[in-house]
């Protein structure tokens, strides 16, 4: 969206008042067919403004209920920093289909000897379409014996679940699984 369109959204009255000057600026040059170009330009700007307001409202609603790929990437960057995340070593156990997104059992296990020299330091679970990407973050160590956790999570929609494991050597490994959710969380009736 350009600065100009944002400004027009900011105050519709201003836009309508300045519509005449817009015609002068040649922005709507192709509308010379009608008798009063100024009136035509006003209608045109009004339609544009309405469409933009609607699309902005729609995107606001969407951003409220769904995080974006950018949010997920940012969340992953917050966890791993500049390191690269390689697929493998992590086993993410989720049902392929869940009828109720309010409680989806999930289990993560990481292939690691769990010795003081080579162990899993942390396990993170994220999703790509929940209102916020984080699900759980766990700190463990060689004391755990086995790098396995399980919990139950909420899923707002059919989406990918990503598990990331941080190793003691500073490397990151991940696994991704898709869960089909027939009835998402956040949508149940409140009574």
């Amino acid at each position: 969206m350009t600065d100009k369109t944002i400004k027009t959204l900011a105050s519709r009255r201003d836009v309508l008042a300045s519509a005449g000057s817009l015609v002068g600026g040649g922005l709507i040059g192709g509308f010379g067919l009608l008798s009063t170009p100024v009136a035509q330009a006003q209608v045109q700007v009004q339609v544009q403004v309405q469409a933009q307001m609607q699309s902005q409202m729609r995107s606001q609603v969407q951003s409220q209920v769904q995080s974006t790929q950018a949010d997920l990437n940012l969340a992953i960057r917050r966890i791993v920093g500049e390191a690269t995340v390689k697929p493998g070593k992590v086993k993410l156990d989720v049902p392929p289909l869940s009828e109720n997104g309010n409680s989806v059992s999930m289990s993560v296990s990481v292939d690691s000897p769990m010795t003081p020299a080579d162990h899993v330091k942390a396990i993170h679970v994220l999703t790509d379409k929940n209102p916020q990407p984080y699900v759980i973050g766990v700190k463990i160590g060689p004391r755990a014996g086995r790098a396995t956790i399980s919990t139950r999570m909420r899923l707002s929609d059919t989406q990918n679940v990503i598990a990331i494991a941080e190793m003691s050597d500073g490397s990151f490994w991940s696994a991704t699984e898709t869960v089909i959710v027939t009835l998402g969380a956040c949508l149940e009736d409140l009574s």
């Binding site: 309010n102 984080y134 759980i136 766990v138 700190k139 014996g145 919990t151 909420r154």
Partner: protein
């Protein structure tokens, strides 16, 4: 006081890997829902869970609104010695709950 369910084996062999399962009653209100009048319901979740084995921290989890109501967390640890395994949950609005289980290691 939130009711808590904990599953820790009563007896274990030294060095054995045991699984600890915990469940605590909590609404885990995500903060993303609205009431029937359209008013946003404020977030009320458990944000952290810590497990100590004879005073040593062995497991720590950060929970987010995407954890289902009545959070269930299961994890593994090595049974090193007899003693107490203590659990602490903390959350929004000053929520705090503790519980513990005893284990005998032979």
């Amino acid at each position: 006081m939130a009711s808590v369910l904990i599953n820790v084996p009563a007896k274990a062999k030294r060095g054995e890997i045991i699984t600890i399962k915990t469940l605590i009653s909590h609404v885990m209100e995500s903060g993303f829902r609205r009431s029937q009048l359209g008013v946003a319901i404020p977030r009320d979740i458990i944000t952290s869970f810590v497990c100590n084995y004879n005073g040593e921290e062995i497991f720590q989890a950060t929970l987010y609104p995407a954890i289902a109501a009545n959070p269930f967390v299961a994890f593994d640890t090595i049974a090193t010695e007899s003693g107490t395994i203590a659990f602490t949950w903390r959350g929004d609005n000053g929520f705090s709950a503790t519980d513990s289980a005893n284990i005998i290691v032979v």
